[in-house]
């Protein structure tokens, strides 16, 4: 039994570069594998949603779900959108603006009380500010307003939202959030989550999306104070069930932002682009400062102005968000106006 060797490394780096090369290769391979798998899962999930809408599977659906499962056309629309998302992030210039302009879910005015309001609906106070899509991908984050123009281009703590040291952001990773940018506290209030870390949530119910939004956003660090790699703070808004106490909280509760009405979301509704009756907005003077126009001094002018929009189908609507339909113009008037499409 010879004495035991107790030599320790002396003035040497603990890890050899060869070992480092092996480990970095393994890391890259693991990352590539994860990307490949994630891509397969994303693709698979969109195709699955298409198949689930195929006619033969319809009868198997339970009664309660039938009313909330959209028709197959809508579903395939969602599918094509889903595939588009990654393509869209590669679009440049006017194309990308056009594309994003079509992607937001827009509420209708609340003009009556939906059935089962207390059971099937959520309510929350809508922050006042610029409605926008926030997209994080490839180590950067871009916010685009309703017209597709860029509001900010910035690093964020969202997945794939900044170039960070560990480089763990995968190529397929991206997020799309439906937000309102609140000028006063320079915060993005997230009112809906459309894609998170490569997973599409278009075809998920609002209930699931909000659940996901709340758990994901917090843990990503996006709600933290701004820093070098995270230029703007993100925040979720408090969402309530539409029972009387929920309504009361949303209507009168103190929130860190200026309110612009109440938004109502049907729990079972999927994320649908354009106007939908499954999302509603309510405004009155108690919950919005924008019910009546004010001038620069905050005083109410003697006349209120309305901007009207004439749509292709001859419908005349206000250009509010959401628009209010006034009526339909007949062909004569249109002809008289010639090629002019807008009335001011």
């Amino acid at each position: 039994m010879a004495p035991h060797d107790i030599r320790r490394p002396f003035k040497r780096a603990a890890i050899s570069d060869q070992q480092k090369r092996r480990e970095l290769s393994l890391l890259r391979q693991a990352q590539n594998r994860r990307d490949a798998q994630q891509q397969a899962r994303c693709l698979a999930s969109s195709i699955l949603s298409l198949q689930s809408a195929a006619p033969e599977s319809q009868p198997e659906q339970s009664d309660t779900e039938i009313e909330t499962v959209p028709e197959s056309e809508q579903e395939s629309e969602a599918f094509s959108k889903d595939l588009d998302v990654r393509q869209a992030s590669k679009l440049r210039g006017p194309e990308v603006r056009k594309w994003f302009a079509r992607q937001l879910m827009l509420p209708e005015w609340m003009i009556d009380v939906p059935d089962r309001l207390a059971q099937d609906w959520y309510v929350f106070a809508r922050p006042a500010g610029k409605r926008c899509f926030v997209v994080s991908s490839n180590g950067t984050t871009v916010s685009r307003q309703r017209n597709g123009s860029i509001l900010h281009h910035f690093p964020s703590a969202l997945p794939a939202g900044a170039k960070i040291r560990d480089g763990s952001g995968s190529a397929q990773s991206y997020c799309i959030l439906d937000c309102i940018f609140h000028e006063l506290d320079q915060t993005y209030y997230v009112i809906d989550m459309v894609c998170w870390n490569g997973y599409s949530l278009y075809d998920c119910t609002a209930e699931f999306r909000f659940y996901w939004l709340n758990s994901k956003l917090e843990e990503s660090g996006a709600c933290n104070a701004p820093s070098h790699y995270h230029k703007f703070r993100f925040s979720a808004v408090p969402v309530y069930n539409c029972d009387s106490s929920g309504l009361y909280s949303a209507y009168t509760g103190v929130v860190p932002y200026a309110k612009d009405g109440l938004l109502f979301y049907n729990k079972h509704a999927l994320y649908q682009t354009g106007n939908t009756p499954l999302a509603l907005v309510w405004k009155d003077e108690n919950c919005s400062q924008y019910v009546i126009d004010t001038d620069g001094k905050g005083e109410i002018p003697s006349q209120q102005q309305v901007v009207l929009e004439l749509q292709d189908d001859r419908k005349l609507v206000t250009s509010d968000d959401p628009p209010v339909l006034f009526g339909c113009l007949d062909g004569d008037i249109i002809e008289k106006m010639g090629s002019l499409r807008r009335l001011i």
């Binding site: 039994m1 090369r21 698979a44 480089g167």
Partner: protein
Amino acid sequence: MEVTQVLFNAQSIDGTVRKNAEESLKQFQEQNLPGFLLSLSGELANEEKPIETRKLAGLILKNALDAKEQHRKFELVQRWLSLDATAKSQIKACLLQTLSSPVFDAHSTTSQVIAKVAGIELPQKQWPELIGSLLFNVHQIPAYAKQATLETLGYLCEEVSPDVIDQDQVNKILTAVVQGMSASEGNIDVRLAATRALYNALGFAQANFSNDMERDYIMRVVCEATLSPEVRIRQAAFECLVSISSTYYEKLTPYIQDIFNITSKAVREDEEPVALQAIEFWSSICDEEIDILEEYGGEFTGDSDVPCFYFIKKALPALVPMLLETLLKQEEDQDQDEGAWNIAMAGGTCLGLVAQTVGDDIVPLVVPFVEENITKPDWRQREAATYAFGSILDGPSPENLIPLVNVALTFMLSALTKDPNSHVKDTTAWALGRIFEFLLGSAVDLPIITQANCQQIVTVLLQSMKDTPNVAEKACGALYFLAQGYEGEGEPSPLTPFFQEIAQSLLTVTHREDVGDSRLRTAAYETLNEVVRCSTVETAPLVLQLVAVIMMELHNTLESQKLSSEEREKQSELQGLLCGCLQVIIQKLGSSETTKYAFMQYADQIMGLFLRVFACRSATVHEEAMLAIGALAYATGADFAKYMPEFYRYLEMGLQNFEEYQVCAVTVGVVGDISRALEEKIVPYCDGIMTQLLKNLSSNQLHRSVKPPIFSCFGDIALAVGEYFEKYLMWAMSALQSAADLSTHIAGDDELVEYTNSLRNGILEAYSGIFQGFKNSPKTQLLITYAPHILQFLDGIYMEKDMDDMVMKTAIGVLGDLADTLGNHASSMIQQSVSSKDFLNECLSSEDLLVKESAQWAKLAISRAISV
């Protein structure tokens, strides 16, 4: 057969005679194994035979019982167990008899043979009388018999695991050993043998160390032995203390003061081998406390948590001065000697560990020593001061260190160029490297490197690369860490303006005349690698220029002909460095679309060179070239298909390399890269690859660490080729199933738990790849038959509660993939599984983001599968 003569001849200087003798021994062994072993043991036992033949007989016996390679060892164990019982008991009787031989070589070899037999038989509950008869021997009168028996007990404890011997016998062994160690034992050899035996027996003493009286007694005897007049006994006793420090750390409180006194006396006064062990005791305590404090930091709350007793913190005021003294005992030229290990080196290493253990507290104890000695005329004092400073840079907080570093930096840069002593320069460059290693990076707000001093730092380091090889090597190391400090910053790196100059200097170093005999060339290429890894977009064109330069270097190594075996080894080593460098460059340039495009012009040429590197060797493939090809495949994508016809044979060769299992593992990883790059274009090569991979899985010669990546690779291939995988499905699934059954339950140590988890991860990645690969194919129903087993596997590993986060993430992902691919066909199966409820919920609320994300995917997929 006259075995004595043959054994004699087997040691003859005449090659032919030797060969014949070896041949007849081999024949004898093959024709009549029991007879062969029996006559060897007879030879060993016979006092009338010459020492040389007895010794060789013992050696052959030993080799007939044990081998280094696992599978060979297993074969030998089985062979012995199946041997005729009468022959075995005769052999064992001979062995026990030989133990009392007065001939040293005879009994010394025998003690090892007995331990080997015990290592095989005791776990099988055979040879129950062995320990009893050994213990009887201890009380024999001739000292040599006693010594041989104690040695046998020592070897035996080394061979068998503690759970094989019952506590009663353990007690008796320890009593015999400790008695042999005690001061009352008059014979030095006996006492030494007992002390060394205790070292191996310590692992058996769990129960005895829990008993205050027994522990006190053992500790007293060990401490007394450290004061023995015989240096070998003192050394062996300190070795016991070192082993106790890690095995029984939590029992040391009552003894630590005494041990401190004993060790510090030994460090200051005793001979070097003893002093080194005494220092090692404290290094080992540091290791323990660093581990414990790390677990504290990680908020680990296991039941078996060992508390930290802060021995180092408490000993600090006395320990640090003792270690600082050792630093002044350097040997001349120790930096030129790779194998050097002396008291200054041991003390310095220990000081670094102490700094890691206590952090800020060490700073005020070391700084005065540095200030006092750093400008002294004696080089030993300057070197010791520099070493002391360098060794405390890892541990204390940056806030505490950076002000000191800012003061010291200018002095150090000047010492690195102007100090007349090479040893001081070597240590200065090393300490600069430590500054960059531990104090640069985005976590630290206080800057060390500024626009103002960056130029000077780079200039000094590049200049030092022309110094003696050891100083130049340390300067390369410092530059390595300087570059690393700006890895992935995103901001413009202050090194960017110097990229060209740095790369040029490093390449110049690789061509130094005296580069061959040291690690210098390796250090220069490794530094170049790091500089490339950490470079920014601004220098991408310069990195691209390097491609041609390194390719030319690699080309040059391929031109030399007719090399001696030593030259060939050097050539292969250099090719490894160059392939490694190209791998780093490929990975760097391949990671961004613009640089990748520019790089691709070289792809054909580079691949050509790699193939020539492979062709340099007949039987094995070059690991570094293989790794580089993986990176190239990733960068090239589907175009890699054009290299496959020529490359395939090397790929296969790599997969067949069981001997160098690292090469095999790397090749398996490259198969994954190629699958992702080629997708369905890999189909023509799948038969060969899958056959080889399945063969590898069923081999017991392949290192087990390669098996998990092979399973992952199944997943990569299945995902790439989709339903084409059907061809291999049955075989792959059967291999996966049996591995899954094996890996559900783990019984063993931490290492086995870790291995099992990596195996589970591989299996699960295979399932994921297969499910996703078959998705949307009409053949999906083929997978349904496997689903119950897979769900059962998931439930099984969930129930075991011992999987790590990685496995958790992959496992819950598989649940999602299964639901996603099988849909409503599997919905009732899924709903019945525990995984879809408890396991899923647990994952949903996991702290680990990746686990949570996989769980959410699974939840989504399941809800769809169920609702459809």
